[in-house]
């Protein structure tokens, strides 16, 4: 830490902020494109295909087609940037940013690794230090903001398919938000606070996936709906409404929309890992406060990628729900289950 600060001619605290900002923005920005590649290769493997493997750097270095997202991104820049007649120009330009920025913000409070002491100062491994008063509420609130991006994109496109997709997406997100909130509430109760650092520390006693399996189930399903992923990708629904809310988008605006989806996956995975899978903690180890900081970061990343893979895996297994089934599941099943989970946890905590 000190050497790094010395190299950058900064105080350790400032250098650490630089590192954290780079990580908090770099992880989704770097992992997002890699996930698009992972999605295409993974789906290919699931369907006994091969997937993109031919893109090569200078025609030589192929690395299993890992450069495909780079080529895709480059292609997006050269595409015509179209704006349909009658579209609301300002909102049409604003929508990709409105979708992208909330997706990026979710990682701000997530602890990416163990806190450590260096030179008498404590450094926290999350962009916002604990005790900022927002805690876990920030990713929840910002995640709910994501629907604005979808809705604004749909509305400003002046397209009937778009508006249908946007409406469906917003209705879906609203109905899943409540079950999600109740599931997280049970965790806040068990922890006695809503700071992610506190939640991760609490999981030293056992990961919440074991302590609240029902809550985990509800949260997991709702996260799929939040991230607009199959089986709940009603905003897009290729077979029904062409491409949903981004029907009219092209060029890099479409690229940004596509990237947003993957950044959402990363955000959702980070939330799942932090809330239920013990954050940066290794399983089955009592005292983990002395582990190497980089190891805890690696553990967090490994969990993040594993959960992201589950997102991809589920997409290529399950078909899309019918819209009434989706509403049925959200309001009549997940919400009661989540409520029951909350009550049971509360009852079990009564004696304490």
């Amino acid at each position: 830490m000190d050497t790094l600060a010395h190299l950058l001619h900064l105080s350790p605290a400032t250098a650490w902020i630089v590192v954290k900002v780079l990580l908090a923005f770099g992880i989704p920005m770097a992992l997002g494109p890699i996930l698009t590649w992972g999605e295409r290769r993974g789906s290919a493997m699931i369907q006994d295909r091969i997937g993109p493997n031919r893109v090569a750097l200078f025609g030589k270095i192929r690395i299993m087609g890992l450069l495909q997202p780079l080529a895709d991104g480059l292609k997006f820049f050269f595409k015509e940037d179209l704006r349909p007649a009658g579209a609301n120009k300002v909102l049409f330009w604003l929508a990709p940013a409105l979708a992208f920025i909330p997706a990026m913000l979710g990682l701000a409070v997530i602890p990416l690794g163990r806190d450590f002491v260096s030179g008498g100062e404590t450094f926290h491994f999350s962009l916002l230090d604990p005790g900022n008063g927002m805690g876990m509420l920030l990713p929840m609130a910002v995640g709910a903001m994501a629907v604005y991006g979808v809705l604004v994109a749909a509305w400003s496109s002046n397209n009937k398919w778009s508006i249908l997709g946007g409406m469906r997406a917003s209705a879906q997100m609203v109905s899943y938000e409540i079950g999600l909130g109740l599931a997280v509430l049970a965790i806040f109760m068990a922890t006695g606070g809503y700071d992610p650092h506190q939640i991760v520390a609490e999981q030293a006693k056992g990961w919440f996936i074991w302590r609240q399996p029902l809550g985990f189930f509800v949260f997991f399903v709702c996260m799929f709906a939040e991230a607009n992923r199959l089986p709940f990708d009603f905003a897009e629904g290729e077979s029904e409404i062409v491409s949903g809310f981004h029907t009219e988008y092209g060029s890099m605006k479409f690229g940004l929309m596509g990237l947003t989806e993957y950044v959402h996956i990363i955000g959702a995975s980070a939330l799942i890992v932090t809330l239920y899978l013990g954050g940066w903690r290794l399983p089955m180890m009592a005292d983990q406060t002395q582990l190497p900081v980089l190891l805890t970061f690696a553990v967090f990343l490994a969990k993040l990628i594993a959960v992201s893979f589950v997102f991809i895996w589920v997409r290529w297994t399950l078909p899309r729900f019918r819209y009434d089934q989706l509403m049925n599941l959200g309001w009549k099943k997940l919400l009661p289950i989540s409520m029951a989970n909350l009550l049971v946890i509360a009852y079990l905590m009564k004696g304490r």
Binding site: M45, I46, Q47, I50, T317
Partner: protein, 192 residues
């Protein structure tokens, strides 16, 4: 008219276990993950996908692709220009011009014929193999080559020299190009 049968289609009733989704979802995920592992563990050359320009499909034995006019070891063409293939061809894509080419024709009464021109219009050919069957001399074969594409129509009109030797696999024979002179010495002269 027979009495109309009333068909009652019953909607399949799902058990409560099915309606929970969880079990069936887990089952499905298991299947896809098994496929994922299997495909990842399979080396590229054993996968179903043939990555075409790098890998080529091994054609089955009876495959009928591009034609070849066979030759004897000395390079003389086997075809005697009997026009059987031209007659047999249902697509009428073969056109032959015969020529006499041996001194013996005049001196000893041999009838030595060979094709002066042997043209197959590959755009018309339906690769039925009738020419191969009709040929009394086994002079025309259909090979396994299937990469038959060109940028213009003219290059799909295969002449005699194209049919003799424009293949990737030469069967160990010397390559004759269009510039190579036609073998003038008759086969029987050489053999004698």
């Amino acid at each position: 008219m027979a009495a109309a049968h009333k068909v009652v289609v019953k909607k399949a009733e799902l058990s409560w276990l099915d309606r929970l989704y969880v079990v069936s979802v887990a089952k499905g995920m298991g299947i896809t993950f098994a496929h994922f592992l299997k495909q990842i563990a399979t080396p590229t050359r054993k996968r179903y996908t043939i990555q075409y320009p790098d890998m080529k499909k091994e054609m089955p034995k009876g495959y009928r692709g591009l034609h070849e006019l066979k030759r004897f070891e000395d390079g003389a063409i086997k075809c005697v220009a009997c026009f059987m293939c031209q007659e047999a061809c249902p697509a009428r894509c073969i056109s032959i011009e015969a020529e006499e080419f041996s001194e013996l024709t005049y001196t000893q009464g041999f009838e030595e014929k060979r094709p002066a021109k042997f043209k197959i219009d590959m755009l018309r050919c339906i690769y039925c193999g009738m020419c191969e069957e009709a040929c009394p001399k086994d002079a025309i074969w259909l090979r396994n080559d299937y990469e038959l594409a060109a940028y213009d129509r003219l290059s799909m009109a295969f002449g005699k020299w194209d049919l003799i030797n424009t293949y990737a696999d030469q069967d160990g024979k010397a390559t004759l190009t269009a510039e190579t002179e036609s073998p003038t010495t008759p086969r029987r002269t050489v053999a004698l």
